[in-house]
């Protein structure tokens, strides 16, 4: 009897986590990964730091090399194999290969990790000076472009966290940067006091943010003269030698949908806690699936590298014969905007209200550690339900350890705490790290006072 075959479509975070875990769970399994590109097992979240030069060589972004997977883990990676059709009935995946005949791969278990794709396509987004920062190949092309063309003017379309991370890479190369943001705030779901700190930081570094500016086209810049593009929004234009499209990503779920695998309400692949699709032999994980938001209990599309790794591991464990569960997320993320750390977990006020909560919020600005240890202002917004006091979300901004501090709030969300339960949390204190009253405790106190009003 030949061994069972696990086929995995996609070899980035979720895919390679799944492959590694399945191998550990089941040493007999044949594991094949179909990767449409040239790279596997890299940290997508590190791409902005490759652009900035903080990461010198893209190979530093690789968690493991292809040779490691082949030689040490017995995982067979097929590069430049683009899966184009899943036939669940015949348990077969068809893949295109550049310059070769298509190939059919049978499987016993299949894990779909097709990831996400840039959300927006606008006229001119196919110009050679327009880039995304969604995968390693794109980042390598952008850095080559920056190195060879030395662009002076940059435009970033969309002020989500990827856009804001690339701002720093652009300015560190001496570029003048204009950001177009179609809404009235940076980063979707960020409360205004936190957003204001982000905007102040951008201003301080000479970055121009144009809010309420929806880009509708990019003109000029056709090859071979790629410079002198013009980016046009509903209200203004800006010249650009290089453009980054960072308007968020959407799930690449069409391959699964075409095979009859149901999508969820978000348009991403629907999976259960075992990361199983409606087909018992097909799992999915990462940026192509939706997951459960543990605050609302509802499915949400929240593509992030940490979640992709966890889901991939669960899918791999189960495809290998185990029984692991991924319960969901509380919506934690963190980013760095120049020296400012920004973090968010749970729901914004608007999202909480949209989910039926009677949401309210408080914001306090305190200090990160003792003044004589160079403590920095730390802004905390707590979002809570007025009727029960339940914590619904938290956001933080500060220059000193704000990002990891959000984890206290993430834990409170996992534990479904109320702000009333958070007044006297026994958090660590010593002058080199903290102040006696952590900002989140002060904020909880303010929230409780507000509940009493």
């Amino acid at each position: 009897m030949s061994p069972e075959r696990l086929l995995i479509i996609g070899g980035v975070a979720a895919g390679m986590s799944a492959a590694s875990r399945a191998r550990r769970r089941n040493p007999q399994l044949e594991i094949i990964v179909l990767e449409k590109g040239d790279y596997v097992s890299y940290g997508t979240c590190g791409l902005p730091y490759y652009l900035s030069g903080q990461v010198k060589d893209w190979k530093e972004l690789l968690v493991y090399s292809p040779e490691f997977f082949r030689d040490k883990r017995g995982i067979d990676i097929r590069f430049r194999h683009e899966a184009v059709e899943i036939e669940p009935g015949r348990k077969t995946v068809h893949a295109l290969r550049s310059g070769a005949e298509p190939l059919a791969f049978s499987y016993d278990k299949l894990i779909v990790t097709t990831g996400g794709a840039p959300a927006l396509s606008i006229p001119g987004s196919d110009l050679p000076g327009v880039f995304t920062c969604n995968d390693l190949a794109g980042a390598i092309r952008l850095r080559e472009f920056m190195d060879s063309r030395q662009p002076k003017n940059a435009v970033i379309i969309g002020s989500g966290y990827i856009g804001l991370e690339v701002v720093e890479a652009f300015t560190s190369h001496g570029m003048r940067v204009v950001i177009f943001e179609r809404s009235e705030q940076v980063i979707n779901g960020i409360e205004w006091e936190i957003g204001r700190r982000i905007e102040e930081t951008l201003t301080k570094h000479g970055v121009e943010l144009r809010k309420m500016s929806a880009v509708n086209s990019i003109s000029g810049g056709a090859a071979p003269a790629t410079s002198s593009m013009l980016v046009h929004s509903n209200s203004s234009s800006a010249p650009a030698d290089v453009v980054l499209l960072s308007t968020g990503i959407v799930p690449r779920s069409k391959l699964a949908a075409d095979a009859g695998i149901p999508l969820g309400p978000t348009g991403a692949i629907a999976v259960d806690e075992r990361m199983q699709t409606s087909s018992t032999s097909i799992y999915a994980a990462g940026d192509c699936v939706e997951t459960r938001h543990l605050v609302t209990g509802k499915p949400v599309y929240f593509p992030l590298g940490t979640t992709a790794n966890k889901q991939g591991r669960v899918a791999g464990e189960n495809a290998g014969g185990g029984n692991a569960r991924f319960e969901g997320i509380v919506g934690t993320f963190a980013t760095k905007v120049f020296e400012l750390e920004v973090a968010k977990t749970g729901l914004s006020v608007a999202a909480a209200r949209a989910s039926g909560f009677d949401a309210d919020s408080v914001t306090v600005t305190s200090i990160s550690r003792a003044r004589y240890f160079n403590g920095k202002p730390l802004t905390v917004t707590l979002i809570f339900d007025r009727s029960s006091g339940r914590l619904l979300g938290c956001q933080m901004a500060g220059e000193d350890c704000a990002a990891k501090r959000i984890d206290v709030a993430a834990m409170a969300l996992h534990a479904r705490m109320r702000v009333q339960d958070m007044l006297h949390l026994d958090l660590s204190y010593a002058p080199p790290f903290a102040v006696v009253w952590e900002a989140i405790l002060i904020a909880a106190n303010e929230a409780v006072k507000k509940l009493a009003r």
Copy 2:
């Protein structure tokens, strides 16, 4: 009708927190604080950094000045008033004043915040070159001594966190330091892998640690020739120009006990969740009381500045007519040993076993953030109950944001999580702050594997 009078014995963390809160709660209250020394409202936890010079002037350690309390908060502080007797039946406190007649103070509500006292007294501990670091007056004397005498050889007796914090102050003044520790480990309750990192750090900085060395006397050094003391332990001696006694503190509960206020099993004053003693008009808070350990449910003596502030606030709220509660602690503390951050929450393996848990542990060393952001090794020990998987404790050591990371474990203890619940916690991640798999998640995974064995 004259206003109610709140009398507070002791004006450091718990006492002044109580006074401030009572004032906020009740603007009519007459508030008098009896402070036996010359200073109020200072951060005891900052004293080692005053010794090191990180804090230039001791006034930086004051949260508020006496004038602020008098003028802005209407709080009447009586310095050099040492309470020597409480008469609960007559609601009166008798206080000694240096160079003046004793005074009697009546009260309607009394809050006892008499703090803690150095635990150990050994022959020679009254020599003029022997100091403690338990209050501001002592720290000022020690710094004056260091500045004027320029000691070369220092001995620290006891390797708790205060001793380890003062090590850095001593070495930063060019002193050669020997630490005597009577047990086989540094910091009570620290697991050995964490302790090893502390010991390696001490060695790296040229500090000599002598374990299993119980000091039994200090000789020489009588005034006026204070140099050339000799510190004698059961196994060796060491010369010293200055000696720090840092063998922990015990509650100053005698004043309360003499008044018939019951102490708890730890020897500290017993209080309920409202910080009330057995007498309805007498509250107590801070280093003189015991508190409930939320992991064991049992009373514990765990004197720390954060807890004192919280308890003081609750006592003040209630003495002012409110109804606040302090539920207890999970035993979180953090300290810095040179560049190494050390933190602990919950129970050690030994303490957990002594409390009847079937305790086991795992330790992992991972990395604090992406390597290209100069990530540092982060060691995490998880202590858990084998029969249920319940998390019982956590300890961390590392040079990069280890202290604030312990808060995730503190939250898990507050929420009574099991290690099985901690595999997929949605903690913040971005390469400048973290790695995809936080060390505590890796440790939880190892713990779950160990449970299955």
